[in-house]
Each structure stands twice: as structure tokens, then as C-alpha cells.
Amino acid sequence: MACSATTRIIHNPLAISSSRSAEKSDFSCKILSPSSFWGSASLGKKLLSVNKAISPISRRSATVVAVSDVVKEKKLKSSSSVSNLLITKEEGLVLYEDMVLGRAFEDMCAQMYYRGKMFGFVHLYNGQEAVSTGFIKLLKKEDCVVSTYRDHVHALSKGVPARQVMSELFGKTTGCCRGQGGSMHMFSKEHNVLGGFAFIGEGIPVATGAAFTSKYKREVLKEDCDEVTLAFFGDGTCNNGQFFECLNMAALWKLPIVFVVENNLWAIGMSHLRATSDPEIWKKGPAFGMPGVHVDGMDVLKVREVAIEAVGRARRGEGPTLVECETYRFRGHSLADPDELRDPAEKAHYATRDPITALKKYILENKLASEAELKAIEKKIDEVVEDSVEFADKSPVPARSQLLENVFADPRGFGIGPDGKYRCEDPKFTEGTAQV
């Protein structure tokens, strides 16, 4: 584990607005020493020397250091003592359980989809669990999470019960959005999951707004508020205007937000390298005046380290951070994607870096828990997921009366009908048969 040489965040020395011109140039060239920062440095060097697109494997090979290698290295140096570890036993088990839940749930989704229990677009998160778990498990209940269409696991990590998420996927009325949202629109007011957005980039301004509310509450309403918002999105979104506009506004007003890029290298069939002029997304943070960090997103402990720092920054009011997590999705873009474009060698390579296997290895080798305890967790999660499917199966489908509810918060918005009464007072309205 890269624990002693922890990931360093590139701090922007220009946190306070001052003349930038001279400093900016040497800031962007600053690259940390390779040993302290897995991924970015050698990656940067390698990319600078290459003009053409390389297959992701060779590009990444220089930077890949499997967790197992680091653990070996560490063992050679010193005997591992508990004080050197990044996590306690409880934390380790929480992280493990959350990642296993994410994986098991998504696998069950695939099964259910192919059995015809859910339809439409379903985007699975297999392989990226480290990012969700690493970040969201640090949050309080009041903190907000905004995601994209690949949002099942973000909702689960934030605390939305698996039953509600599965029901929502089945389109039942007991789902977290009453069956009206679906796979791509997971919302929870109780757990502050602000969606679930189908168009990429759409959620980033919403996250910026939630962060704005936090700042507003603190400075205008004088409430004691240190809520943080996390915005998750992918590499494809980083070429979208809304991303850049929000980086600007968040840095400008020092909003308590962390922009988490889940760079899995592929936007459906478009390779990140083919779509982006400068594929190093973390560099775009300093361009707007916020720190940009690159982290190995297949390693939950590294992600957690970075997250602690980034969320801490936001909570202290120091402003936003851009975190690029290098990760990979084991399945296709969605369940309808044949996933033909990706090189099987690349997939195999990343399969060796499975975050769950890595954490399990870490826990066992550092004697944080026994094999039996981990197995017990896996069994428990299996039961939770089975139960959620059962619950969803048994739940009722939405009745017709639900059709016209929730279109407006104030249903008078449907207007006044020819008879002088508000449309929403018409009994057919509550039955769902009125034509509005």
C-alpha cells in the first residue's frame, strides 16, 4: 500500500487571487516524484513522448503497480504493524462490505435484466466500486451525492436500501422514486442522493448548486453548515461544456464540492484518447485554480486517502478539488452494449486489479480480519440482494392514479378547466385518467 509515501495533492499556490502569469507556467510542469504518486508522474512522462494513440494497456503498463506488489514491497521493508495501516478493522470491513454489496447488486441486476424483469438502459458499475466506496463512505448523511446514469452503486453506498433500488429498477411503486425514475434516475431525499441523470454533464451544475446552498446557508443564513457535495462523472463528460463551466464557478466561489472523474477510458465505444486532446484530466483542475489529483481508482485505500484530503478541504471551506480516478468497468457500457471494441487483453489486465480482490488481500495479509469474517460478509450481502429481489418482485406496480401525481409540486399548475375548477380537483385526475 502506498501508505508511507502517501498521495500528495498538488496544491495550487495561487489559492488567493493574485497575479498568475509567471507562476502558472512552472506550476503546470510540476510533476511529483514517481515513488510518491502512483500513476501521474510516469504517466505524464510517457504521454509527453508519444504522439499517437497507444492502446491503453501499454500506456498504463508503466504506471500499474498492483496492490500485491506494494504489499510485498512493504513487507520487505518492515514488518507491518497496525499503526502503519491505513484503516482499522472496522473501517476495512465497512469498505469491504460496501464494495461486495455493489458488485453483488450489479451482478444481480444483470441477471434480472436478462430474465426480463427490468428494461431500458441499465449501466453497471462492476469494477469501479473502489471509487464509490472510497469517497462516499467518508460522507455524513447530510452531504450530497450527484451521479450519472451509472448510479446504482452510488445510491447504495450513500445508504439507500438495496430493496428500494431494486424496486425502482423493476419499476415498482416501492422504488426510491416510486418507479418513475428508473435505472438512470436514482434520487433519495433522505440520503441526499440528488440523482441520477441521463444526459452526461447535466448533473454537474446540479451538484454545484447543492454546494452553493451549503455556502449560502453558512454565509447568508448563518447556519452551522459544512455539507459537502460530491459530483461523480466519467471521462467523456470531461469534454463537455458544463464540466468546464462548473469548474470555473466552483473555484470562483470556493464551493464545497469535489469533482470526481471516474476515468474508465471508454465512453461507450469512444476511447478517451481518441476524444480528448490532452487525456490527463487532473491537469484541468489547476487551469481553473483548484488542485487536480490523479489516483489509482482500482485501489480503494488510495482513493480513500485522496478523498479524505479532498473532502476535508471542502469542509474547511478551502474550495473544490478535481480528482481523476483511473478505473475500469468490467462490463460493457450498458447491458445492451456488445462491448466489442475493447481489447480482451486490456480487460484481462484490469481484471487482475479487481478492487475487491485487492482489498481482501490487504485485509488478510495485514491480519485485520479472518477469511471467515469476510465470507460471512459475503454471505450476508448475498442475502440482502436476494431479499431485495424478492421484495421488488412482490411489490405492486404503480397504479393508474400515480400517473399525474408529482408532475407539479403544486398541482394547481395544471390549470383551471372549463368548468372553473382546478384540473387537479377533477376526480379523473386523481384516478389518472384525465387528459391534461
Binding site: C144, V146, G175, C176, C177, R178, Q180, G181, G182, H185, F187, S188, L194, G195, G196, F197, A198, F199, E202, I204, P205, V206, A207, T208, G209, A210, A211, F212, T213, S214, K215, Y216, E219, V220, L221, G241, Q242, E245, C246, N248, M249, L252, E405, N406, V407, F408, A409, D410, R412, G413, F414, G415, I416, G417, P418, D419, G420, K421, Y422, E425
Partner: protein, 447 residues
């Protein structure tokens, strides 16, 4: 060019929840008495002249005598001894003024929720739409600390049309937020803020700029309450000036109401007088629904008396501007003034048009409109939208669907030409509906 516009308003200063509708537990009378049945002449005496001078940015000077009812009336008749800017009054052509008895009417006694002020003349301020909007905004910001404004140049600059002038000094830079030029993102930011508890008002510097925010307005503003299963509400107000101005060019002269009308989950209102501007602004801010408030660039300097008392109008109701018998003219925003000018001519020619300012562009107030259709059996719609897919098109379809039996003739819809608004003044004039066309259409219809 002068526009004499007799405006007869009846306003019920009701809260959002009350309205003068038949009690739903009793069968409604058919058809209900016209809300503006003229009372006996002696019970009120209100005459106001409103003059609109288009050559000087539509400054309107209104004179009003005291009234025993909570109404503001404008009609063409001038009475002496009142505050008049002499230069303006001298130019008023009295023979275009409607002096017939049955024109000046406003009934109030039977309206619930109307505040009756006493006989002594209240010294009510004259304000224009700008000031009315600002007052409405300020009152709501004072009332609820979660109300905030976001937009380009709303803070230090005071708003491109000065609607938010002075608010940033009073409430601070965070409550009146100057945003960078990123409509899609700051509209989305306002939506995120609305979801988490604030009540933002987004100003589009020109309504046309909100085309850049269409993604957020359609997907998030309109749909989020539904897709979240009712968990998050979006109490946002999106406002800004639109419409055809004075040679502003095609892109600054857009009418977005036709583009937004299909979005489910939003309400659209258009204000046309200082009175309804303030009332609708307050109603929109207090509403839990996302509301788009359309203002018009040329109407900002329109002056009128604004009541001192706090009042909030109903977002879903239309406004009876001038009751009549022969034909129903439905209009909104700036075209109201063209219609009223045409109405003057029509009255002199012996017609009796009923003019309704529909105000609520989505949803339509089918009650007021329906009652009118049932009375007159003829409808003319006058709007500034393009012909194709405009508000008029939807309104035509709606009236045909609901009141087909009551129509004696097909609905006539006068809209702007399907042309990008040209810069040249003469061409611009011909793209928009002019009073002469309205007069001709009514004459044709009522033959």
C-alpha cells in the same frame, strides 16, 4: 407614434389559495355572471387615461381618480384636474377616446378577497414595470431569506434592464449573484440550489439566452420533480425580457414561450402591466413549481399606479381587460397594447370587443376564456409568437377542443410572421401584428 390604450383591469388581490370560482360543492351556475358586470354608475367613479408613446420608450402616464374599490382602471377618457403631464395631454386625440357609458366598467362588490379601500384618495405611487418587478422581488427577498437571484450582471450592474438595481448593495453578493456567462450551468446550479432548499430566481439577460439553458430547463427543471417520485421540488423562477424590441436584431428578438410550452412540469406566465408584473412575480416566487416569467423589452417603462398593499396574483388566471359582447380577443404581453389600440378603433366603428389578457401561457385559463367564448361565439387570438407552433396555435387547438359547439366561426389567430426578425425598422414592423390588422380581422370575423 401614439398608442392610446384604454385598459380596464379587474384585479382580485387574492392569495394564491382563494379565487372567485363557484363553490365546488355546489353545482356551478351556468354561465356564471360576468365578473365585470357594471355596477350602478354612482357607486364608483374611476377614469384613467393611459398614453403610450412608442417614440419615447413607451412611457405611460396614467391618471387615476380615487376609487372606492381596489381596482386600477385605465380608459381613454381624460378628466381635468388630475395629474397630467401637460405636453402629453395636449397630444391626446380625444375623438379616439371611448366615452360611451358601457365601456368604463368594473365591478367589485361581489368579489371575495378584494380589499376595499376607503373613499379618500390613496397616494399610491406611480411605477413602471421595472419598478414593479423590483418591488415584488424585494418584498419576497425580505420575506424569505432563502430567496436569491442569479444571473449575468444582476448584482453590481443592477441588471441589464435594471430590474435588480440596488439589491446587491442591500442583500450582498451571494444573494444577488453575478454569474459568469454560462447559462446552462448557472441555470443548473439554480436547480440544484432549489432542490436543496433555496428559492432562486434566474435572470436571463435576454430570454433568448435561455436557449443555451434548454437542457437544464427541460430535463431538470421540468422533469426532476417527477423522476424523483416527488422527493425534490424545484421552486425556481426563470425570468427575463424577451419579445420583439426596437430593432434589436433577430437573435435578441426571440419569443421563447413557444419553445418551452411543451415541457411538462413547468408553468409559464407573461406580465404586461406594472400591476400584474408585481403580482405575478410574487406569485411565481411563492409557488413551489418552476415558473417561467416572460417580460417584454418594450414594456419596461410602462407606468401605472401600483397598490401599496401587498398583493399576490393567481398564476393560473387570465385577466379580463375589457368586457364586451361581439368578439373575444385573446392576447398577452405587448400585443395587449396593440389590441387595446385596435379596440379603440373598433369601438368607434360600433363593435364591442371583449379583450382578455391570458397571462398564464401554460396552463391556459380555460374558465375565463371559455366563458368569454360562450358569450361572444367568436375568437381572435393576437400574439407575438411565430405562427408555427406558437402559443396561439396551442390556444386555437385548446379552444376548438373544448368549446367547439360555442363557436360561430373558425378561430382567427394573428401571429408574427415565421421570419427571423429583421433589423430594418420597416421590415420589423411588418413581422409583428399591428393594430390595423387586428381591426381588419375583427371586421372580417364579425361580418
Amino acid at each position: 407614434m401614439w398608442l392610446c390604450s384604454p385598459l380596464i383591469h379587474s384585479y382580485s388581490s387574492t392569495s394564491l389559495s382563494s379565487r372567485h370560482r363557484p363553490n365546488r360543492h355546489n353545482p356551478p351556475p351556468s354561465p356564471p355572471p360576468h365578473p365585470l358586470t357594471p355596477p350602478p354608475r354612482s357607486s364608483f367613479s374611476v377614469k384613467v387615461a393611459c398614453l403610450i408613446d412608442l417614440s419615447s420608450n413607451l412611457e405611460v402616464h396614467c391618471i387615476e381618480r380615487k376609487t372606492s374599490f381596489f381596482f386600477i382602471h385605465c380608459d381613454g377618457s381624460l378628466t381635468s384636474g388630475l395629474n397630467l403631464r401637460n405636453s402629453r395631454s395636449a397630444r391626446l386625440s380625444t375623438n379616439a377616446v371611448a366615452t360611451k357609458q358601457d365601456n368604463v366598467t368594473a365591478s367589485t362588490a361581489s368579489k371575495p378577497g378584494v380589499t376595499n379601500v376607503d373613499e379618500t384618495p390613496p397616494s399610491k405611487p406611480i411605477g413602471n414595470i421595472l419598478e414593479a418587478l423590483r418591488e415584488g422581488l424585494e418584498e419576497e427577498m425580505e420575506r424569505d431569506p432563502r430567496v436569491c437571484v442569479m444571473g449575468e450582471d444582476v448584482g453590481h450592474y443592477g441588471g441589464s434592464y435594471k430590474v435588480t438595481k440596488g439589491l446587491a448593495t442591500k442583500y450582498g453578493d451571494l444573494r444577488v449573484l453575478d454569474t459568469p456567462i454560462a447559462e446552462n450551468s448557472f441555470t443548473g446550479m439554480a436547480i440544484g440550489a432549489a432542490m436543496t432548499g433555496l428559492r432562486p430566481i434566474v435572470e436571463g439577460m435576454n430570454m433568448g439566452f435561455l436557449l443555451l439553458a434548454f437542457n437544464q430547463i427541460s430535463n431538470n427543471c421540468g422533469m426532476l420533480h417527477y423522476t424523483s417520485g416527488g422527493q425534490f421540488k424545484i421552486p425556481i423562477v426563470i425570468r427575463g425580457p424577451g419579445g420583439v424590441g426596437r430593432q434589436l436584431g433577430a437573435e435578441h428578438s426571440q419569443r421563447l414561450e413557444s419553445y418551452f410550452q411543451s415541457i411538462p412540469g413547468i408553468q409559464m406566465v407573461a406580465c404586461s402591466t406594472p400591476y400584474n408584473a408585481k403580482g405575478l412575480m410574487k406569485a411565481a416566487i411563492r409557488s413551489d413549481n418552476p415558473v417561467i416569467l416572460f417580460e417584454h423589452v418594450l414594456l419596461y417603462n410602462l407606468k401605472e399606479r401600483i397598490p401599496d398593499e401587498e398583493y399576490v396574483l393567481n398564476l393560473e388566471e387570465a385577466e379580463m381587460v375589457r368586457p364586451g359582447e361581439h368578439v373575444t380577443i385573446l392576447t398577452y404581453s405587448r400585443m395587449r397594447y396593440h389590441v387595446m389600440q385596435a379596440a379603440k378603433t373598433l369601438v368607434n366603428k360600433g363593435y364591442d370587443p371583449e379583450v382578455i389578457d391570458i397571462r398564464s401561457l401554460k396552463p391556459f385559463d380555460l374558465y375565463t376564456i371559455g366563458n368569454s367564448v360562450k358569450k361572444t361565439h367568436r375568437v381572435v387570438i393576437v400574439e407575438e409568437c411565430m405562427r408555427t407552433g406558437g402559443i396561439g396555435a396551442s390556444l386555437t387547438a385548446s379552444i376548438n377542443e373544448n368549446f367547439h359547439d360555442y363557436l360561430d366561426a373558425p378561430i382567427v389567430c394573428l401571429s408574427s410572421q415565421d421570419v427571423p426578425t429583421p433589423y430594418a425598422g420597416t421590415l420589423e414592423e411588418w413581422t409583428v401584428v399591428q393594430p390595423a390588422q387586428i381591426v381588419a380581422a375583427v371586421e372580417q370575423l364579425c361580418r
